[in-house]
Amino acid sequence: MKKLLSVSLIGLAVAAASSAQARDYDHVRIGVDVPYVPMEYRTAEGDLTGFDIDLGNAMCEEIGVTCEWIEQEWDGIIPGLLSRNYDAVMSSMTINDERRQQVLFSEPYITMPSAWFAASDLDIDEANEETLEGLTIGVQRGTLQDNYVTDNYGSVADISRYSTADDMVLDMDAQRLDIVFLDFPIGQSTLVENEDGDYVIVGEQITEPKEYFGDGFGIAFRQRDEALAEKFNEALATLKEDGTYDEIYTRYFGEE
């Protein structure tokens, strides 16, 4: 079936091809899902910025290639990589086994815990099966947080799935959601530091079990682009040694 479909899609593909060229990577296109503050977002003037963006640009400079950032919805970010809409994904993507089957990851460049966030008047200390019972939980569709919540609390709570983290914040403000489960820094900056609402982190930051929370964020490449991934790994090591990495880290997360 797949074969047949792919063959019949040749016509479509050719029609949609805007250019066809050989690739030797003096120019790397990187897919990114914005906004995801403070990892990747646009300033009021429309400039792309964030931890991923700055680190990615520094790496490209180190390798000696030009980099172009291409925006892509999270839903389709891996298919977009596989279909060469871009050559890498650097978009707060957690390395885990499910994704390893599809893509090749760089070494992790940062480790981010996940966390629960809720309005301060929700009044629970810890998220578990009893406290979450009957609540409406917001997650971003297709994220590891979605998988974790679906598998562990899908039977006791209602799960609302959103396309973007912004949608979730809006429905938190609208009081449609009781609690959300997000990457910790994103919840911290969009909810806890949000002036309109009164939100707090619920319980501890979460990094276990590894089958869900993986080994930190990595840059994703197509399986066959091992050489490219290796270049990025080397660049990361260099940036960590010469202090550039720490400088970018402090810019977005302050002193450790």
């Binding site: 569709r141 009081q175 449609r176």
Partner: protein, 243 residues
């Protein structure tokens, strides 16, 4: 033979996508879609009949507001209507404290309201057309019988308009079924929502989207046959008489 059974076992064991869990999602999706479409059609129909009568009125100040309603709801995308109702309702002051909040809090009800108003607008126009097409002779006959305006509406115009409207209304039902696919945009887990979820979890578009496409296709055919059957029954008198 053993080759085939081994291949078949492989297929099943390597299959992450058609499992009991995902089937559960599709089932929930089917239930949500059916509820949403059925309820909005029933309420929309109940609203549309009086609206169509008002719309057919010769007095401008009665027909014009109804016309405006149908013009706006038929002239703009349902998605925009859904966004306005879903996001907009939150910004009425004090709605969160009111007794209606438990209703508007759920994504289901804003979606139901948007769908209902939309189908009511289309159905109103369908009925208006059918009312307008009432044969002059029928009305004259009713008048000659000394029927009052209301009685004539109830006994003659509405029943015959219902029959004439049937084929167009059947299309509207199918249209609503297909339009309901946007419910997943406001977090509802309808059939399309289930497919989107499975897609984003396994990165395989073909299996989930083809599967729900098939379900929609079956539903469409079921509706189609139901209306064919109804038409046959209700419009039997219009068929050419066989000698």
């Amino acid at each position: 033979m053993p080759d085939i059974s081994a291949w078949f076992n492989d297929l099943l064991s390597g299959n992450l996508i058609f499992t009991a869990t995902t089937m559960g999602y599709y089932w929930t999706g089917l239930v949500t879609t059916t509820q949403l479409v059925f309820l909005s059609l029933v309420i929309g129909l109940v609203l549309a009949v009086p609206l169509a009568i008002l719309r057919s009125s010769k007095r401008k100040w009665i027909s014009l507001p109804v016309y405006l309603f149908t013009y706006v709801f038929r002239g703009t995308p349902l998605l925009v209507q859904l966004y306005i109702i879903y996001y907009g309702v939150v910004f009425f002051d004090g709605i969160q404290e009111s007794v209606f909040w438990p209703i508007f809090r759920e994504a289901f009800y804003p979606a139901l309201i948007a769908f209902t108003l939309n189908t009511a607008a289309y159905t109103t126009e369908i009925f208006r057309g059918a009312i307008k097409a009432t044969a002059k002779g029928e009305i004259e006959a009713a008048r000659a019988y000394g029927m009052s305006q209301g009685l004539m509406m109830r006994r003659i115009i509405i029943p015959s308009a219902f029959r004439r409207a049937l084929p167009a209304y059947g299309n509207e039902v199918i249209f609503m079924l297909h339009a309901s696919a946007i419910a997943s945009v406001v977090t509802l887990m309808d059939l399309t929502g289930a497919a989107r979820y499975v897609y984003s979890r396994f990165y395989t578009p073909f299996e989930p989207f083809l599967f729900v496409a098939l379900i929609y296709l079956c539903l469409t055919f079921a509706i189609l046959f139901f209306f064919r059957f109804l038409e046959k029954k209700l419009l039997a008198h219009l068929k050419p008489q066989t000698p």
